[in-house]
């Protein structure tokens, strides 16, 4: 497939998904809460309200209003948060770094553990450690992430008091306005429990996936042929077998993004991590419609972007999808 065709196809798909999400966002705005009441309160007379309604375009046909909504959205204007009295997008973006760093921490943990563990379990199929890991993984799959979070807070945060269990700790503001917890010891120590918790649910899934794919690759003819060529065990395992497990792992990883974002909401709630998920739940409880819409649209955007990147990576590491410039 040609790379340009690929990019165009992906871009069209992304736009369609975003359009669908924006329609959902707009219908919420249209049906949930009365923007007028939030703006002017109860004391204004009915005539004045009607006039305001007309002025704000709330009496226009659905399509006209939607196009206006879309036009504003494209310019990054998704309305003003009722509670914070600030543009909803700004409020969300303030919280974005916290969620992003939590996810990075979790991804780092589960990738660095699941790959060696998955390979180990595939190679040593019957060892006692494999049995422990595999049993542990099915137990791990069965523990909801919020229970892991509660257990972590209770054990390490409260009973043992080893690690901070609430909030983000000290952060440093980077020149472009990004609040990072990576640069302070306090920030990093606050990151440990939430990111372990968030990774705990993905870890068993990935161990099982990598093990299964690795087992399959190791039983293929090309791995047998590699052995018959007299290659070292390491080369057979890591170059021939493992390379072939990367494709399905990337695919499934891409499918997990939505789940990961959903789990950030649970994790952030328990650890009171000041990220987008925590903010979203607060917005739901306050019926802060513009903020709810902004969250849905920003998350949709993140999802579309990450998915496109994953697809792109897939085409890069999959030689079956040919890019221009490759010989052959």
């Amino acid at each position: 497939m040609h790379i340009l065709a690929f990019l165009i196809r992906r871009a069209v798909q992304a736009v369609i998904v975003m359009l669908v999400i924006s329609v959902i966002g707009f219908s919420i705005q249209d049906n949930l809460g009365d923007p007028l009441r939030e703006l002017v309160g109860q004391s204004v007379s009915e005539e004045e309200r009607d006039a305001l309604r007309e002025e704000m375009g709330l009496n226009d046909p659905f399509l006209v209003q939607y196009v206006r909504f879309l036009g504003n959205a494209v310019q990054g204007d998704l309305g003003t948060s009722y509670f914070f009295k600030r543009p909803a997008v700004d409020v969300i973006m303030d919280k974005f770094p916290a969620t992003f760093e939590l996810v990075i921490g979790a991804v780092f943990i589960f990738l660095s553990l699941s790959i060696p563990a998955g390979i180990y379990c595939a190679i040593n199929r019957d060892s006692w450690l494999t049995r422990i890991i595999m049993t542990g993984s099915i137990v791990g799959i069965s523990i909801p992430v919020f229970l892991t979070a509660i257990a972590a807070v209770w054990l390490f945060g409260v009973e043992l008091g080893w690690l901070p269990a609430f909030g983000r700790g000290d952060t440093v503001e980077l020149p472009w306005g990004w609040e990072t917890g990576f640069l302070t010891l306090d920030g990093l120590s606050h990151l440990i429990l939430p990111s372990i918790t968030l990774s705990s649910i993905m870890l068993p899934l990935f161990i099982r996936l990598i093990r299964a794919e690795m087992l399959e690759a190791m039983s293929t003819d090309y791995v047998r042929f590699a052995r018959a060529k007299g290659l070292s065990q390491r080369r057979v395992r890591y170059v021939h077998a493992f390379r072939n497990t990367l494709l399905p792992v990337v695919t499934v990883g891409g499918l997990m993004i939505g789940t990961l974002i959903a789990y950030t909401i649970l994790t952030e709630t328990v650890f009171q991590w000041p990220g987008m998920g925590f903010l979203f739940l607060e917005a739901v409880n306050r019926v802060d419609t513009p903020l709810i819409i902004a969250y849905i649209i920003v998350v949709g955007l993140i999802f579309v972007i990450v998915n496109t990147i994953v697809d792109f990576v897939y085409t890069l590491i999959n030689p079956m999808v040919k890019l221009p410039g490759a010989k052959g």
Partner: protein
């Protein structure tokens, strides 16, 4: 002493928790330098098992339960993993059945060739590259230089099998074991690939073990034939002798089943019944349920391999495949 000698080889697979079944039940084989041997039998007879057992590559949970594989007087089955790697792909190479799945889809042809050389030779990248291109030219692959950067899926099945042959020849091995090297290919190019293997073996004085179910191919390529049935060798001898006058009723049946033996308009012969699976072998000669010559003795005792045939009632010269 022969260059390669397999003695009383048994390969067993676990069945259930305690039992084992044997896929090879005591196979002997000798191969001289530069000799071409055909191993013939139906699928399931244990031909491929024999090939993999020679290089100690039986897939888990199977294992070689008994026997020796003597190569230049050294038992390959006793070698350490490290030492046998020095034999595999270096002094004894293999060609697999289906080129569509033999080459790793995510590695280039070049990588898969160079790594073989690098595993066995202390050679610079540039020299290795040169050698790879030379071998690709030997197997008649057009524009060999540019193929090194190609991935397997960019080549046709025939070209891929040529690459596999080139890889097998890279290290100038003494023996090539070819396991049904043309079965998975288009009929139109089967003969071409077979001719190529024959030519290269002759030119480089490489011994060949050709594993196939096709007696016709073996007749054209090999000097000696070994016929296998249900994990045992039932007949063994010079190709010419067996083709012209087989002794074992099974060999005879295989020959009769060849299309060239059926006259115009007559029905193609077929051996009645089918080979039993290794999990359900009959007592005595495993072939007796399909054999017209079988007697009570055949149902009791496994006939030993004597004078190149394992049968209590071998065919006479004039009876055979007439």
């Amino acid at each position: 002493m022969a260059m390669l000698e397999v003695r009383d080889l048994h390969v067993a697979f676990p069945q259930g928790k305690r039992n084992e079944v044997e896929a090879l039940r005591g196979v002997n084989l000798t191969l001289e330098k530069g000799e071409r041997l055909g191993v013939v039998g139906e699928s399931g007879a244990g031909k491929s098992m024999l090939a993999f057992a020679i290089l100690n590559l039986i897939a888990e949970p199977g294992r070689v339960s008994h026997g020796e594989v003597m190569f230049h007087g050294e038992n390959l089955l006793d070698l350490s993993e490290r030492d046998i790697r020095g034999i595999r792909g270096n002094r004894i190479s293999m060609i697999f059945q289906d080129p569509m799945v033999t080459l790793n889809p995510v590695l280039t042809i070049g990588t898969q060739m160079m790594e073989t050389l690098k595993a066995h030779r202390n050679i610079s990248d540039a020299d290795a590259r040169k050698l790879c291109i030379a071998k690709l030219k030997q197997v008649a692959i057009p524009s060999a230089e540019s193929r090194l950067a190609a991935y397997p899926h960019e080549l046709s099945g025939g070209l891929r099998q040529r690459v596999v042959i080139a890889i097998a020849l890279l290290t100038d091995p003494e023996v090539i074991i070819a396991d049904e090297p043309t079965t998975a290919l288009d009929v139109t190019i089967q003969a071409e690939i077979m001719a190529l293997i024959l030519k290269l073996c002759r030119e480089n004085d490489v011994a060949l073990i050709l594993i196939t179910h096709d007696l016709g191919v073996v007749a054209e390529v090999t000097e000696r034939i070994m016929i296998m049935y249900a994990g045992l060798c039932v007949e063994d001898g010079p190709t010419k002798r067996i083709i012209e006058a087989p002794s074992h009723p099974y060999s005879d049946g295989l020959l009769r089943a060849l299309p060239q033996h059926a006259g115009r308009g007559t029905k193609l012969y077929q051996i009645p019944g089918s080979m039993p699976p290794i999990t359900a072998l009959p007592p005595g000669c495993a072939y007796h349920p399909r054999c017209a010559r079988a007697t009570a003795e055949c149902k009791r005792t496994i006939p030993p391999l004597e004078n190149g045939v394992a049968c209590f009632h071998p065919l006479d010269q004039d009876e055979a495949a007439s």
